[in-house]
C-alpha cells in the first residue's frame, strides 16, 4: 500500500523552480480522532525525497525547504498512510492529522491508548480488553467495581449495579456501543443489560463532564465501546471459556471479525453463561443461578472521509433471586435478620425458580458519518431499544407461574453530532438529540402496575469547545439543554390519592374514578440545563492537573414520580411523589496525575452538591394483612457528597509492580444534617503483580481488598410486635456489617500456536480464604452471607 502511495505521489508531484531553499517546514503529527501526538511518524517529501521522523512529542522539522508546492507523504506504523499538498512561501508550520488505527493482531504490543478521550478536563479511568476479559464470566458492574471510586449496589451476587462516587441508577448513564442504555435503569435491583464480552474497552467518566452523552449524569458516565476494527484485509477472532467452581457453571464467549482494506468489516459475537446456585462459605445460596444468552452483529464501512455502521445486539438474562429474601412482612424480616443462616437452604440446583427476573434487551443502531473539509466530522445515528422486564414473585394458585411485573420499554433515539476543529489549537462538538420512549405495563399480571404506561419525549442540544493556548494548558467549556415531557396513565389507589392531598392539588388530571382506584393523566414537562467548564495543566513532563466544574440537572424518573405500592423484592412499600422538580448538581473535581512507568499516581478529590436530591428512605411502618411493612418514601433534600479516589502504581524492579487504590466518599443530607443511606464504605485495594514478557507473558497477581465498616449511616430501624413471643422487637435494617478483607489470586500464561494463533491459560481464585462476610451495599445482606471461595479456570484462544 505504502509503495503505491509513493508511486502515485511521485507521479503527481511537480518539482518547481528552486529559488529560495532555506525555509523550514515544521509542526506536529497528531491523531485525527483525539488530537494525541504521534511520535515516530515518517514524512517524505516527494521530489526532493527528504525524509524526517517526528520526535517523542510528535514534532518534526524539515529544514532547507524550497518555495513552492510539495506533496508530502505522512506515514505511521498504526495509521493509514496519507498524502498532503503543502504550499511553502516562507517558514511554514503545519499540523498533519492521521487516522490512527490500532494493530490488534498477533500480539503487537500497543503502548498507549487504544481509545480516544471523551472529555478533556475530567480524569477518566479505563478498563482495557485484558482487564475486561478477567471479568468475562461476571458482569459489567463487577468489572467497574475494580476501578477506584466505583463500588456496586448488589442484589445478591448476580444483580450488580455500578455505584460511582456514591451515586447509582438514573444518576449513572451507561453508553453501550454509542447508545445510551434505556433499560429501566431506575430500579436499584436492575442491573445494566450489557454483555461485558462485547466491550473492547470501558471508560468511566466520574461526574457529568461528558455532556455529549447527556446532562443528567449526576454520578457519572460509563462508556463501553467495541474494539476498533483495523482497515486491512484480515480475519481474526477469539474464544474465551471460563469454568467456575462457585455456582458450578461456565461462560463461553466467542467473536469473529472480518475486515477488508476497502474499509468494510463485519463482526459477530456471542456469549453463553450458565450458573447454578452460588455458595457462601457455609451454605448454598438457594435460587441464585443465572442463565445469560447474548449475541451481537456489527457490519460497517470505515473510510477516512465517511463511514457507516449497523449494529444489533440481543441480551437475555434470567436471574434467580435468593429464595430466603422473599418475605411476607416485618415479622418475617425480624426472623430473617436474627437468624444467622438463611431461612431457606435447599440442595444445589441449576433450576431458577421464583423469585426471579427475566430480562430481554434488544438494541439496534445505525450510524453514518462524513468528514467535511473545514467543518469536521458529521455523524447521524438512529437507535432503537426494546427492553422487556419480567419479574416473578412467589405466587399462589393459577398465578403461580405468571410474572408479577411485565414491562415493555421501547426507545427510539436520533442523534446528530458534529465534531470538528476550530483552528489548529481547538476543537468543538455540537449535537442535537431527539428521543421517544414508550412504556407498557401488561395488566395481565394481576398485580397493580409498579411503573405506569407512559410516553416520554426528549429533546436535547449541546455544544462543547476546547482550546489549547499552549502546550501546557487545555481549556474546555460546554453547555447543554434538555427538554423532557412525560405523559402517563396512572391508576392511584383512592386512599393514597386522598391521603396525599392529590385530590385537591391535581383535580384536573383525573380521568375516571373507579371503585377504589382513580385513573389520572399526568402530563409533566421538565427543562434541564447543564454545563461544564474545566482546564488541564501539564507540567514537569509527567504531571497533569485536571480541574472541572459540572452543572447537572436530572428530571425525576418514573419510579420517583409514580411508585405507590408494595415492592416485593425489597420487602417494603414505596411511595413516589408527583410534585418533584429536577435535581440540580454542582460538582467540583480536581485531579493530580503523574504518568510514569516507574511511579505513577492520580489523586482525585471532589465535592458534589446536589439540590433537590431525590432520596428514598423509611418514614413509618404500615399495617397490612400480611403484617407490617416499612414504608419508604421518596423526598427531595439537599445532599452533599465529598470524597477522594487515589490510584498509585509503582514498578519494583523490571518484572514486579505494586498497584494501590483507595476510595472514600462521605454523603450527607444537609437539610436534616444526617448521613445519606447506602454510601459506600471506605475501601482500599492493593495488588502485587509479577509479569514477565519473556516467559510466555506469564502474569501472576495477588490482590487484597479491605472494606472498612460504614460508620456513618442514618438510623432507620423500626419496631414491630411479634405475636409468638408477645414482644416488641427492633428491626435492625440500618446497622452496617463489619469490615472485611478478601484475598485473591490471578494468573495467566500464553502458549503460542503458530504465527497467527495463541492460547492463554488462566487460573483465578477469589475469596481465597473463604472469608465469611456481608457487604453493606448488598441489598440481601440481611438474609445471607456473601460469596465464598471461587476457583476459575480460563482458556482463551486468539486466532
Amino acid at each position: 500500500m505504502r509503495f503505491y502511495v509513493i508511486v502515485v505521489l511521485l507521479c503527481c508531484s511537480i518539482p518547481l523552480f528552486s529559488q529560495d531553499c532555506d525555509y523550514t517546514l515544521s509542526g506536529t503529527v497528531v491523531d485525527m480522532h483525539d488530537g494525541s501526538l504521534l511520535p515516530g511518524a515518517t514524512l517524505i517529501v516527494a521530489g526532493t525525497e527528504q525524509v524526517v521522523q517526528t520526535d517523542l512529542e510528535g514534532k518534526y522539522t524539515l529544514p532547507n525547504v524550497c518555495e513552492g508546492t510539495f506533496s508530502i507523504q505522512v506515514s505511521h506504523p498504526y495509521c493509514l498512510t496519507k498524502g498532503y499538498t503543502v504550499t511553502i512561501a516562507g517558514n511554514t508550520t503545519k499540523t498533519f492529522r492521521l487516522e490512527h488505527h490500532v494493530e490488534e493482531l498477533n500480539q503487537v504490543i500497543v503502548e498507549g491508548k487504544a481509545y480516544g478521550n471523551k472529555t478533556k478536563t475530567v480524569y477518566e479511568s479505563a478498563l482495557s480488553e485484558d482487564e475486561l476479559e478477567r471479568f468475562s464470566s461476571r458482569s459489567l458492574g463487577d468489572a467497574l467495581n475494580s476501578l477506584s471510586g466505583v463500588s456496586s449496589l448488589n442484589t445478591g451476587n448476580t444483580v450488580v449495579k455500578p455505584l460511582v462516587n456514591g451515586l447509582h441508577s438514573s444518576r449513572v448513564v451507561i453508553i453501550n456501543n454509542g447508545v445510551r442504555m434505556e433499560d429501566q435503569e431506575w430500579g436499584a435491583e436492575h442491573a445494566p443489560n450489557v454483555d461485558i464480552n462485547t466491550a473492547g474497552n470501558v471508560i468511566l467518566i466520574k461526574g457529568a463532564g461528558a455532556l455529549q452523552y447527556g446532562g443528567d449524569a449526576v454520578g457519572g458516565t460509563v462508556v463501553a465501546e467495541a474494539a476498533k476494527v483495523p482497515v486491512k484485509d484480515s480475519l481474526y477472532g477469539k474464544t474465551l471459556a471460563t469454568a467456575a467452581s462457585n455456582g458450578r457453571g461456565a461462560t463461553v464467549t466467542s467473536q469473529l471479525t472480518k475486515s477488508y482494506q476497502s474499509g468494510w468489516y463485519a463482526s459477530v459475537q456471542g456469549t453463553l453463561k450458565r450458573f447454578g446456585d452460588f455458595e457462601a462459605p457455609d451454605y448454598i445460596l438457594s435460587n441464585t443461578g443465572t442463565f445469560e444468552r447474548n449475541a451481537s452483529l456489527r457490519i460497517g464501512l470505515n473510510r477516512f472521509n465517511y463511514g457507516l455502521e449497523g449494529y444489533y445486539s440481543i441480551f437475555k438474562n434470567e436471574i434467580g433471586i435468593l429464595r430466603a429474601s422473599h418475605l411476607g412482612g416485618a415479622q418475617d424480616q425480624v426472623r430473617a435478620i436474627n437468624g444467622q443462616r438463611p431461612l431457606i437452604i435447599r440442595d444445589f440446583t441449576y433450576t431458577i425458580a421464583a423469585p426471579k427476573q427475566d430480562v430481554t434487551h434488544h438494541l439496534a443502531r445505525l450510524k453514518v458519518f462524513k468528514r467535511f473539509e473545514g467543518l469536521g466530522r458529521l455523524s447521524l445515528q438512529y437507535d432503537f431499544q426494546r427492553n422487556n422486564r419480567l419479574e416473578f414473585d412467589i405466587r399462589r394458585g393459577d398465578d403461580a407461574d405468571k410474572a408479577s411485573l411485565d414491562l415493555d420499554l421501547e426507545t427510539h433515539t436520533l442523534m446528530l453530532d458534529l465534531d470538528g476543529g476550530l483552528f489548529d489549537d481547538g476543537n468543538f462538538k455540537v449535537g442535537l438529540l431527539g428521543r421517544y420512549q414508550n412504556n407498557f405495563a401488561d395488566p395481565d399480571t394481576g398485580v397493580r402496575r409498579l411503573i405506569p404506561d407512559y410516553d416520554k419525549y426528549d429533546l436535547g442540544v449541546y455544544g462543547i469547545v476546547d482550546y489549547r493556548p499552549n502546550d501546557q494548558w487545555l481549556l474546555e467549556a460546554g453547555g447543554r439543554f434538555d427538554y423532557n415531557r412525560l405523559e402517563a396513565f396512572k391508576y392511584y389507589r383512592t386512599s393514597f390519592w386522598e391521603s396525599r392531598g392529590y385530590d385537591t392539588l391535581f383535580p384536573e388530571i383525573v380521568v375516571e374514578r373507579l371503585n377504589n382506584q382513580v385513573l389520572t393523566r399526568p402530563r409533566l414537562s421538565f427543562y434541564n440545563p447543564s454545563a461544564t467548564v474545566g482546564a488541564t495543566y501539564s507540567f514537569a513532563q509527567a504531571y497533569k492537573v485536571f480541574f472541572n466544574y459540572a452543572l447537572t440537572s436530572r428530571a425525576p424518573n418514573p419510579s420517583e414520580l409514580f411508585s405507590e405500592g408494595l415492592h416485593h423484592s425489597a420487602s417494603r412499600i414505596e411511595w413516589g411523589d408527583l410534585r418533584f422538580d429536577p435535581e440540580v448538581g454542582h460538582r467540583l473535581a480536581l485531579t493530580l496525575q503523574r504518568e510514569n512507568k516507574g511511579f505513577g499516581f492520580s489523586i482525585n478529590p471532589y465535592i458534589n452538591t446536589i439540590g433537590g436530591f431525590m432520596v428514598i428512605e423509611p418514614t413509618e411502618v404500615q399495617q397490612t394483612v400480611r403484617g407490617n411493612f416499612q414504608l419508604w418514601e421518596y423526598r427531595q433534600t439537599d445532599a452533599q457528597l465529598i470524597g477522594v479516589d487515589i490510584d498509585a502504581s509503582v514498578a519494583l524492579g523490571s518484572d514486579f509492580r505494586f498497584n494501590h487504590q483507595f476510595s472514600m466518599v462521605k454523603g450527607y443530607d444537609r437539610t436534616r444534617d444526617e448521613p445519606l443511606i447506602n454510601m459506600p464504605p471506605v475501601s482500599t485495594k492493593n495488588e502485587l503483580v509479577y509479569e514477565n514478557r519473556k516467559l510466555n507473558n506469564l502474569r501472576l497477581a495477588v490482590q487484597s481488598e479491605y472494606v472498612f465498616r460504614q460508620n456513618e449511616f442514618p438510623d432507620t430501624n423500626f419496631e414491630v410486635f411479634i405475636a409468638e413471643t408477645q414482644t416488641t422487637e427492633i428491626v435492625d435494617v440500618s446497622t452496617p456489617p463489619d469490615a472485611y478483607h478478601l484475598l485473591g489470586l490471578n494468573s495467566n500464561i500464553d502458549v503460542g500456536l503458530g504465527a497467527h494463533s495463541k492460547l492463554t491459560f488462566g487460573v483465578t481464585v477469589s475469596n481465597l480464604l473463604n472469608t465469611k462476610y456481608r457487604n453493606y451495599l448488598n441489598r440481601l445482606r440481611y438474609y445471607a452471607d456473601d460469596l465464598g471461595r471461587n476457583f476459575l479456570i480460563t482458556i482463551k484462544m486468539n486466532y
Binding site: 422473599h326 412467589i394 446528530l416 394481576g446 426528549d458 386512599s495 397490612t624 405475636a723
Partner: protein, 185 residues
Amino acid sequence: MKNLKFLSIACIAGLLFVACSNDDNGTPPPVNEEEVITTMTVTLTPDGGGTAITLQTRDLDGDGPNAPEITVSGNLSAGMVYDGSIELLNETESPAENITTEVEEESLEHQFFYTVSTGLDVTTDYENFDGDDNPLGTEFTLTAGAVSSGTLTFTLRHEPTKPNTGLDDAGGETDFTSTFAIAVQ
C-alpha cells in the same frame, strides 16, 4: 452549501420523528389485584349451639395507606368448646373471591398458626390436614378455659416447612396475620 442542506434535512427528520405523538390509544384497563387477601373472618361456633362469635380483619386498600379494621363480635364463655372455621376473601373484586378455596387446594403449601398470648387461657387443635396428614388449619377447635383475657393471633404461612413444631421453625412467608383482643368470661 451542500453541508448545510444535509444538516437541515437531518434536523427536520429528527424533529418530525420526535413530534409524532400517538394520541389515539385509549386508556389502559385497571388492574384489580388477584391474589390480595382483604378480609379474614374467623367464625367460632359453640359446640352445644348458641350464638357464633366472629373475629374479622378487613383492609380494602391492601397495602395502601389505610390500616386494617379489626372487629370482635363478643367474648368467649369459660369452659366452652368452639368449632372454628376461617374464611379468606378478596373483596377488591366483585363479587368477592373466596381465597380459602385456593388455600385448601394448595394445602401442602399452606398452614395456619394460632398464637395465644400467655395471659389467655385458650387452647387450639387442628381439624383439617393436607395430603400428607400435616396440619392445614382452616378448620380448628378452640377450647376456652378459665376466665382470662389476652390476644389470639392467626398467621397464614405460604410454603412453610412441614411438618414443624410451630411458627418458630416453620419458615416460609407470611400471607396473612392478624391479632385479636379476646376475653373469656
